[in-house]
């Protein structure tokens, strides 16, 4: 889905809604961005089911991506699953070990992952500050 908002930013908005336990109107977001956040919420609902998360988490390549279309590129489901759903994995779990290995092997996925994390954190901080005001 083409959108102006990055996945990291959108996930930060969704994370705040999930934490608040309700949907919110974000007046600073245009219609397209709001639709995107809503679509991520729909994905989050599906991924919360066991089947949803398992399907995503087992798709991670064991080595670096071999094609131009890397695993994490535009992979909203992965980031919804990892940043919002499956946050409680211990760092020694099989999936985490595989994730570390893949990101060490795949420069493009590493860069993508870092950008999402960066955006997610920065927007999260912004929203927290705004909520405190």
């Amino acid at each position: 889905m083409q959108q102006e908002m990055s996945i990291g930013h959108a996930l930060a908005y969704l994370a705040h809604e999930i934490h608040a336990g309700r949907k919110r109107d974000w007046p600073e977001l245009n219609e397209k961005a709001q639709e995107y956040v809503q679509s991520l919420r729909d994905r989050w609902e599906w991924i919360r089911s066991d089947q949803g998360s398992q399907a995503i988490l087992t798709g991670l390549p064991k080595t670096g991506c071999q094609t131009d279309q890397t695993y994490l590129n535009n992979n909203d489901d992965f980031f919804v699953a990892r940043l919002l759903v499956c946050r409680d994995d211990e760092h020694g779990s099989d999936f985490c070990v595989r994730l570390f290995g893949h990101l060490n092997d795949c420069y493009r996925c590493f860069e993508e992952f870092c950008q999402v994390l960066r955006d997610f954190y920065q927007m999260n901080q912004k929203l927290l500050t705004r909520l405190k005001e």
């Binding site: 990892r82 940043l83 499956c86 946050r87 994995d89 211990e90 760092h91 020694g92 779990s93 999936f95 985490c96 070990v97 994730l99 570390f100 290995g101 990101l103 060490n104 092997d105 420069y107 493009r108 590493f110 860069e111 870092c114 994390l117 960066r118 997610f120 954190y121 999260n124």
Partner: protein
Amino acid sequence: MNSGNKPSSGIDESVPSSKSDDGAFSNTPQSTQQHGEPPMHQFDHSFSLKELIPLCADPESEHYNHAWLEFTKRYKMFMYKVITRKCREFNIARLSLDFSETVNDIVFEVFFKLNIDHAKALQDFRAVDDERKFLAYIAIICERMTSRYIKKYVEDFVITGPPDLFRAYMNSITPDLSWAVYEDLVSDLREQAGQRKKNSERDIHILMLRRWAELSKQMILMHPCIASLSEHTLDVVVNRMGGPFKANKKDELS
């Protein structure tokens, strides 16, 4: 091979070599032949590649010095061009390396590589009737040696250099080169981790998040697979992983 800073062509330039009027080289008697080699007077023309390589490979040969002189005359400028171009791609000035000194050092290392073990690197080349293929072969050697030489400075820059300068450097080189540098660094970190397998991939990843991507510790702790660690642990991991690089730098300076 000569030692020292000046690039060496493997030639003992103290040995005089002069031509007589008929074009023959007079420092070697024409009647002297060793190992079935053609007499010297046949070398008043340019060697073919096929002639040149075996002569460069045999230090016992009386034509050895002349062969290396010819090799240098023919290929040195080409090697300089390839290495200079590669150094520009790496933007080595941003790594605080002196450009011409670095290029000279690498040219020296390439000649050394071509010369050692009876010029094994030259003898390994098979298509001796094809000058173009030989130039491509030399170019690959030059590029690899350049990458290997510069890589250690880049890695050191990643681990120990000021973060803003590192990011500026990475923005100044092509994405493909960034990719290659990333892979090399991870490979070296894995080699360094060695037998200590437990958590090694995690630790490498943490180091790259912190030093390569310059994520803050708070950002890193939003990572679902790292969230259970503390900021102190992140510091310990980064210092431990970067330790050997800092030790190497200390060795080089001492």
